[in-house]
C-alpha cells in the first residue's frame, strides 16, 4: 500500500492477467485478540486468532476489520489491513497498524480477549513467478506488512528473499525480526541516516544483489519506491508487483468504493483495489509519468 494512496500512480500500475489458481473463499470470523503490543514506539501489533482465515490467506491478501462499537458513537466502516503474518500452526494472523484517525484509534484500544469481527482473506495477493534469483521485497513504514507474507512462502519454497525495510528512524522500521525468523535478508534503510533516499537505496540494493537480478520485485508503501522498483524491474526485465490502497467499504467487490484511478477510458471503471488488487502489476515503462 502506498502512503499516498493511489494518487500519482496513474499509468504506473495495471491489473494482472487472470490468475491461474483458485483464490481462497472469503469468510467472516469473530477473532479473539491473542496479543496486542505497541512496537517501534508507534505501531500496534495485533495477533488475532482466526484459523479459518490464517490457514487460507495468500501472501499479500488483507482483512477488513470491523471497528468494535464503544458506547456512544460508532465507527461505521470496517478498516482494511494487510495480513502481515499467517501463523497456521496456532491459527493466528498478525496485523500491524498505525493510528491515523478515528478507526485505528478505536482499534488501538482492543485488549487481549476481545473479539474482533474480521472478513477475509480478501483481494488478490502477490504471485511469485518461477525463475532464478531472489525475491526482492521493498516496503516502507506500514507497507512492509503487505509484503511479508511473500517471505513466509519463499522460506517454505526455499527461495531467497532480500527485503528492503524503510522507515523514518531506525526504531520505527518494521519487519526486521520477521526477516530473521523467516531467513530473509533484511536491508534496513532510514531517513535519519539518509540511506532511504532513492539513490542511496538503489546503490545498496545493487551492492547486496551483487549482479544477480531478482526474479521479481514487490513493493508497497511509497510512490517513490514504486517508481524505483519499476525502473529497476525494467532494467532487469523482471516483473514488478505493487500493493495499493484505496478507501474501502465492502472489501469484497460490490460497493465500487475502491476503484483505482487507472481506467483506460472515462466510461470504463478503474480496477477495484479490493478484488482486482490490492496487488497490481507495475505498468509498461512507457506509461510511467
Amino acid at each position: 500500500m502506498s502512503s499516498t494512496g493511489t494518487a500519482g500512480l496513474e499509468g504506473l500500475v495495471r491489473v494482472r492477467p487472470p490468475e491461474t489458481g483458485l483464490r481462497p473463499e472469503p469468510t467472516w470470523d469473530e477473532a479473539e485478540v491473542v496479543a496486542h503490543e505497541v512496537i517501534g514506539g508507534r505501531y500496534h501489533r495485533l495477533v488475532l486468532h482466526s484459523p479459518s482465515i490464517a490457514a487460507r490467506a495468500d501472501a499479500g491478501q488483507f482483512v477488513m476489520i470491523t471497528v468494535p462499537s464503544a458506547p456512544g458513537e460508532r465507527v461505521l466502516l470496517p478498516r482494511p489491513m494487510a495480513i502481515h503474518r499467517r501463523r497456521v500452526a496456532t491459527g493466528d494472523l498478525e496485523v500491524i497498524f498505525n493510528i491515523v484517525g478515528r478507526g485505528t484509534d478505536v482499534l488501538a484500544r482492543a485488549v487481549e480477549g476481545d473479539a474482533l469481527l474480521l472478513t477475509g482473506p480478501l483481494g488478490r495477493g502477490f504471485e511469485v513467478p518461477d525463475g532464478d534469483g531472489p525475491v526482492l521485497l521493498i516496503g516502507r513504514g506500514i507497507g512492509v506488512c503487505a509484503v511479508m507474507g511473500v517471505a513466509e512462502d519463499a522460506q517454505a519454497q526455499g527461495v531467497p528473499v532480500l527485503a528492503a525495510l524503510s522507515g523514518r528512524t531506525r526504531d520505527t522500521v518494521i519487519g526486521e525480526a520477521d526477516c530473521d525468523e523467516l531467513g530473509a535478508e533484511p536491508v534496513i534503510v532510514t531517513d535519519e541516516d539518509g540511506s532511504s533516499a532513492i539513490e542511496a537505496l538503489e546503490t545498496i540494493l545493487r551492492t547486496r544483489l551483487d549482479g544477480t537480478p531478482p526474479r521479481v520485485v514487490m513493493v508497497c508503501g511509497s510512490g517513490r519506491l514504486t517508481r524505483l522498483a519499476v525502473a529497476l524491474g525494467r532494467e532487469w526485465n523482471v516483473p514488478v508487483q505493487v500493493s495499493l490502497e484505496a478507501h474501502m467499504a465492502c472489501g469484497v467487490g460490490y460497493c465500487h468504493g475502491c476503484a483505482a484511478p487507472i481506467a483506460a477510458r472515462d466510461d470504463v471503471e478503474g480496477p477495484l483495489v479490493c478484488v482486482d488488487g490490492p496487488v497490481f502489476d507495475a505498468g509498461d515503462f512507457d506509461e510511467v509519468a
Binding site: E19, V75, H247, G253, C255, R265
Partner: protein, 323 residues
C-alpha cells in the same frame, strides 16, 4: 471482473458455517411476508441499491432475505467518479461512487446470472439523467427483473442540478413511461432533500408506482478537516448511515400517511430494532445499506430477530408487533 474471480471452497472449520446453519425453524407461526404489487416477498428485509452484490452471497445465506436489489443500471456505460469515493464522518459515511454502469446489456451478461442464482427475487434498480432514459432500460430488462426500483434521485443534467425526483411532474413522466413498458411491480425511490416529499410520493403513486422507497442518500459535501479540501473526488456525495435515521423516519412517516402503496424505508437501518422504528411510523419493508459493510450478516440478523421478536410477543405479523 470481480464476479469472475475463481474461489476455492471455504475451509471446513469456517466460522460462518454455524451462522449459515442457524436458520430459525420454519415459521408457520410468524408471517413476515410483504406484497409489492404482484410480487410477494417472504420477508420485508432487502439490501439498499449499491450496497449489495452477489459477492455477499459468499458471506451470508442470501436466501434468508426477502429480495435482492441491484446497483442502479444506467442506459450507457459510466466509469463512475474519481477517488476518493468514500469517506467516513461521525455516525455516517459519504459516498460518491457515481454509479459506474455497463448499461442494461452489460448487466444482463455480466451481473444478472449471479443475481439469478441467489434464489430470491431480484429487484433491478434503474436510473437515468433524463426522464426519457428509464423506459428503454426497463423494457430491455423486463424479463430479468422480479420488480424494478426506479431511482429518480440522480442529478439531472438537463435540469440545473435539480433531481428528477424533486419534481413531481418529472416523476409522473418517468413512472408513466416505465409503467407503459412493464407489468412488473415498480418501486419509486425518492430523494430526501425535496421541498415536499408528499407531493413527490403522490405523483409516483398516481402514475402507477406499486411502492415507494424512502429514501436515497442525503447530498453532502464532506471536507478533509486538515487540508480543508473536499474529501471526495466528486466533491459532493451521499450521506448514509445511522445519523440519517431521524431525518428519514420523518419522511417515511409523511409519505406512508399520504399514499396507499407500501413504503419501503431506507436510511441508517442496522438492527431489527431500527427496522421496527420504521415499521412503527408506517413502513412495510426495509432496505439495509451501510450496515452491511461492517456486519455482512446485518440483513440476515434482522430477519431472524424480527421472527424471534414476533414469537416472543405472540405476534404473527410485524404489524401486530408495532401496532
Amino acid at each position: 471482473m470481480s464476479l469472475a474471480t475463481r474461489l476455492s471452497p471455504p475451509a471446513l472449520d469456517d466460522s460462518r458455517g454455524a451462522f449459515f446453519d442457524a436458520r430459525p425453524p420454519a415459521s408457520g407461526d410468524v408471517d413476515l411476508s410483504v406484497t409489492i404489487g404482484s410480487l410477494t416477498l417472504a420477508n420485508p428485509v432487502m439490501p439498499a441499491s449499491g450496497c449489495f452484490g452477489p459477492e455477499l452471497g459468499r458471506l451470508i445465506p442470501v436466501d434468508e432475505i426477502g429480495a435482492t436489489v441491484t446497483k442502479t443500471v444506467f442506459a450507457g456505460s459510466r466509469g463512475g467518479n474519481p477517488a476518493h469515493r468514500l469517506t467516513e464522518i461521525p455516525a455516517g459515511m459519504v459516498n460518491s461512487v457515481g454509479i459506474p454502469s455497463k448499461g442494461p446489456r452489460g448487466y444482463l451478461s455480466d451481473l444478472h446470472p449471479a443475481y439469478a442464482e441467489l434464489g430470491v427475487p431480484v429487484i433491478i434498480s434503474v436510473g437515468g439523467h433524463r426522464p426519457d432514459e428509464y423506459a428503454p432500460i426497463v423494457a430491455e430488462l423486463d424479463a430479468a427483473g422480479a420488480a424494478f426500483e426506479i431511482n429518480v434521485s440522480c442529478p439531472n443534467l438537463d435540469r440545473n442540478g435539480v433531481d428528477i425526483g424533486a419534481d413531481p411532474d418529472a416523476i409522473t413522466q418517468v413512472v408513466e413511461s416505465v409503467r407503459a413498458v412493464t407489468d412488473k411491480p415498480l418501486i419509486v425511490k425518492l430523494p430526501p432533500m425535496v421541498s415536499s416529499i408528499v407531493d413527490c410520493a403522490r405523483a409516483a403513486e398516481s402514475a402507477g408506482a406499486d411502492a415507494l422507497c424512502v429514501s436515497n442518500s442525503v447530498p453532502a459535501l464532506p471536507l478533509d478537516s486538515v487540508t480543508l479540501r473536499p474529501a471526495l473526488g466528486n466533491v459532493i456525495g451521499g450521506l448514509t448511515g445511522p445519523s440519517m435515521r431521524p431525518i428519514i423516519l420523518r419522511l417515511v412517516w409523511l409519505t406512508s400517511t399520504s399514499v396507499q402503496v407500501p413504503v419501503i424505508a431506507c436510511g441508517g437501518i442496522e438492527t431489527a430494532n431500527d427496522a421496527l422504528e420504521y415499521f412503527s411510523v408506517g413502513a412495510r419493508a426495509v432496505q439495509v445499506g451501510t450496515a452491511s459493510f461492517s456486519r455482512p450478516y446485518a440483513m440476515v440478523d434482522i430477519v431472524r430477530e424480527l421472527t424471534q421478536r414476533c414469537r416472543a410477543a405472540g405476534a404473527t405479523t410485524v404489524a401486530q408487533l408495532v401496532g
